[in-house]
């Protein structure tokens, strides 16, 4: 579903990504781990078509970036640590706006369906301004799945959430992932990614240094795998 070959990203003279290779099969849920400044956010921004690669190939669902960006965008749902929502619109107005941008048919039933999925149907007519951080983040996920994307990217979705909100977010993420979608998620929270992901990759110094499936993890936990990957 995602094919990345020899991806290089430079900011001016600084090289962030150094010939990164990355493949994700349909239906996989990849947790992308790595220290701060390793290039995780940069990498996700490139996958989400917001930033252009300096060198290398990126293909999502068979379409190349950046040349076929529009086709990729229609199949991609992105959640970042910013909500990407308008505070002065209600929940349903926000979704309706994005539904129009994505050119969806049958908007209203889909909006109701998504609101129910993220547990905000009872707050649909309230301004996003009045929502807690956790509710905003759930709505942001609703916004990202609205057009039923094949591939979803989550960049630190748990940032700024308390325990309860994180648990609710877990449920939403699980239901999003269970619908056969391909997911790539970055997170500091190793324990949470352990619950969700089917594969764990470590991004360090601009390349993928280690990768393991849930089965390959065996009896050790993600933390041990991560520490070992960084030390080698």
């Amino acid at each position: 579903m995602i094919e990345v070959r020899k991806l290089v990203k430079r900011f001016g003279l600084k090289t962030i990504l150094r010939g990164l290779d990355f493949d994700v099969q349909p239906g996989e849920f990849v947790a992308l781990l790595g220290p701060n400044g390793a290039g995780k956010t940069t990498f996700l921004r490139i996958l989400s078509s917001l930033s252009r690669p300096s060198l290398g190939e990126v293909k999502i669902a068979g379409y190349a970036l950046p040349s076929q960006a529009a086709a990729v965008r229609a199949r991609l749902g992105v959640v970042s640590h910013m909500p990407l929502l308008y505070a002065d619109l209600t929940a349903e107005e926000n979704l309706r706006f994005y539904a129009r941008l994505y050119g969806l048919q049958n908007q209203e039933p889909r909006i109701t369906e998504v609101l129910q999925m993220v547990g905000l149907d009872n707050r649909r007519r309230d301004l996003v301004r009045t929502f807690s951080r956790g509710m905003q983040q759930r709505l942001a996920i609703g916004r990202a799945v609205l057009h039923d994307p094949d591939v979803m990217l989550f960049d630190e979705p748990y940032t700024g959430l308390d325990q309860d909100a994180s648990t609710m977010l877990d449920e939403v993420l699980k239901s999003v992932a269970s619908q056969g979608r391909t997911v790539v998620m970055t997170s500091h929270d190793l324990a949470r990614s352990e619950d969700l992901a089917t594969r764990f990759d470590v991004l360090s110094r601009g390349v993928i240094t280690a990768s393991t499936s849930r089965e390959g993890l065996g009896s050790s936990n993600v933390l041990a795998f991560y520490k070992q990957a960084l030390n080698t």
Partner: protein
């Protein structure tokens, strides 16, 4: 492959969605219009005392006072309109959607233009009320429309750059004002012409230049907007 007509209709739909979104949000908060409006009134009050707007002075400076008011109030509108997109990452949200980047640009231009024209049309009767003059002159309205189009087009392009910098809203007037001088000059000249009931032949050069500037700046912004929002 999309057919051209389908692509055009999705372009227009995206523009319409953005305009409607901005109008709905503004209808809720009324932050933008109210601050522009109060600011514009304050500018007129300051001018009243700064220039001592008695009838003999006023005949010469009315166009100037109006345009300075519009330009200053417009800066607030432009800043605010882009800050809304940048603050919660909404600009990324727009860029993630499979719509043409220029559709985003025109959407923002049209909604900001609507706000600016609203403020202008409300300021005119205020000015008329304060000084007991009637400014409802179709010619002047036309100049206001044409001048505001050019101003908002350049302003939207530059404010989408300004919000992505560290200095943000302080920067906008500094980068915007030297660029819009030709628009301001021709709008002033044409406004003066209509307010002093000059013959159309005398106003035509300024009006023509204003139209040309609108076209030129729209075309240039259309070509470079991608570079402003895409990384």
């Amino acid at each position: 492959m999309k057919s051209p007509s389908l692509a055009r209709s999705s372009f227009l739909k995206a523009v319409a969605a953005i305009v409607q979104k901005d109008l709905a949000a503004e209808y809720r908060s009324r932050e933008l219009l109210s601050s522009m409006m109060v600011f514009a009134l304050l500018v007129i009050f300051i001018f009243n005392y700064a220039l001592n707007l008695e009838p003999s002075v006023r005949a010469k400076v009315t166009a100037g006072v109006l345009w300075v008011t519009f330009v200053f109030a417009g800066t607030i509108g432009l800043n605010r309109s882009m800050a809304v997109e940048k603050d919660r990452g909404c600009l990324d949200g727009l860029l993630l959607a499979p719509v043409d980047r220029t559709a985003i640009f025109f959407g923002k231009v049209i909604s900001t233009l609507i706000f600016m024209l609203l403020v202008e049309v409300i300021m005119l009767p205020f000015y008329g009320l304060f000084y007991n003059v009637n400014l409802f002159n179709p010619g002047l309205l036309l100049v206001m429309l044409l001048g505001s189009i050019g101003y908002v087009v350049v302003g939207t392009l530059l404010s989408s750059m300004a919000v992505q910098t560290r200095t943000r809203d302080i920067l906008l007037p500094i980068i915007l004002f030297p660029i819009i001088i030709p628009i301001l000059l021709s709008a002033l000249d044409a406004s003066n012409g209509f307010l002093n009931n000059l013959e159309f032949d005398l106003i035509q050069p300024a009006l023509g230049l204003l139209v040309a500037l609108d076209v030129i700046f729209t075309a240039v912004s259309f070509m470079v907007f991608d570079y402003v929002v895409e990384e």
